[in-house]
Subunit: 225 residues, 2 copies
């Protein structure tokens, strides 16, 4: 699984992943501050990169949503994380992607080449921050997957989504029930039933399948455990 590096072996050379985010083709300047990269558009469910493929790029979401996931041999899937506007994904230490990435809906991303480089401080910073955010999310998610009940998982998920892609308490989910299930370690039926249960308890409202209004955040916080 991993690599048990010897206790000391200092890395003599800057690692591949610390290279600056360097533009591949300056297609267009983005509004953000760092170096430009190439813009790419993806349709729903289109693959951005595959698990095992050569990891040559880093990505940042411009619009839409991206999921990164892993598969077991029999098809069981775990969605590691969802990435929204501003989020960076595709961070790798080795030569290959250990997860695959697909667009959840119509999405635009900017790709940074991680090969050539003249390292801009900003990039390094931004990259390191992105790595840490990924780590924090992953660690929080471990607690969710390891110890929370279905209802608690849904509550945590809703609060997270509200925070990340909504100013108010109304969320427009970009992803399907299947995606949610594979992210929370549940089945779509359990996800659906949990939503229904929260609605019956007047904690949320479901005007449409993917539109959720949080009516009682306190209750959700309580469930969040």
């Amino acid at each position: 699984m991993h690599t048990a590096l010897a206790a000391n072996s200092p890395l003599q050379n800057p690692s591949i992943f610390m290279r600056g985010l360097h533009e591949t083709r300056s297609v267009q300047k983005t509004s953000s501050s760092q170096a430009a990269g190439s813009i790419h558009s993806y349709v729903k469910d289109e693959e951005i990169f595959a698990e095992g493929a050569r990891a040559t790029r880093l990505y940042k979401v411009i619009s839409g949503a991206v999921r990164t996931s892993k598969l077991l041999s029999d098809g069981r899937r775990q969605i590691d994380a969802f990435h929204f506007a501003g989020d960076i994904f595709g961070i790798e230490s080795g030569m290959e992607y250990r997860l695959s990435a697909e667009a959840v809906g119509e999405s635009v991303v900017i790709a940074y080449h991680r090969g050539s480089l003249q390292s801009i401080a900003d990039d390094t910073q931004q990259f390191a921050m992105a790595m840490l955010r990924s780590l924090v999310r992953a660690q929080n998610h471990l607690l969710l997957l390891g110890r929370k009940t279905a209802l608690e998982r849904i509550a945590t998920f809703l609060l997270d989504m509200a925070e990340r892609l909504s100013a108010e308490d109304e969320i427009d989910l970009p992803m399907s029930r299947i995606d949610i299930a594979d992210h929370l370690g549940l089945t779509i039926e359990t996800v659906s039933r949990s939503f229904t249960q929260l609605e019956r308890q007047a904690i949320i409202e479901l005007p449409a399948a993917r539109r959720i209004i949080l009516r009682d955040k306190t209750a959700l916080d309580r469930l969040n455990a």
Copy 2:
């Protein structure tokens, strides 16, 4: 899996968490190559740092084993990871530790101050690698917690432990069944039953509760899914 690092850009500006690992008090030189830190010993179950405490240090395990974990309000616990000799833990982006750390058994660690700084490239590198290794482990663990069965979790765990703390196929586990359960998102009873089942299938041998001999790695790999 590999640590394939390519050479390139040195990091120009260490960010807050990229500050060099700087010795607090040079108590003793370790055998490893990087900057010295202060040596500390902990007895079984002794706390190294608490969730929520001010994150002033980074740690590296010299000997023994350390667990980092999170708690839910009702006491449910998730062990994020086990750390053995050479592993770094206590990586944080913010001001506080988001996990707590305790010694699994009698353990010795070296603590690096992350405050003062004159950033040594080696340190930064090592730190970045440690962060990435944590991320890789966490992401793999997500798949385990989200989608694997009890038996598959145990198989994965045993293969991981064999790789990390044993040259042969005999493992001396430093941690209790409770720790294993809290790491794998199971109960101690299920962990125990899974071990017994693997032994009945002649895949492992259990000369003592914490001593495990892998008799059929192929079968474990198969379960590893």
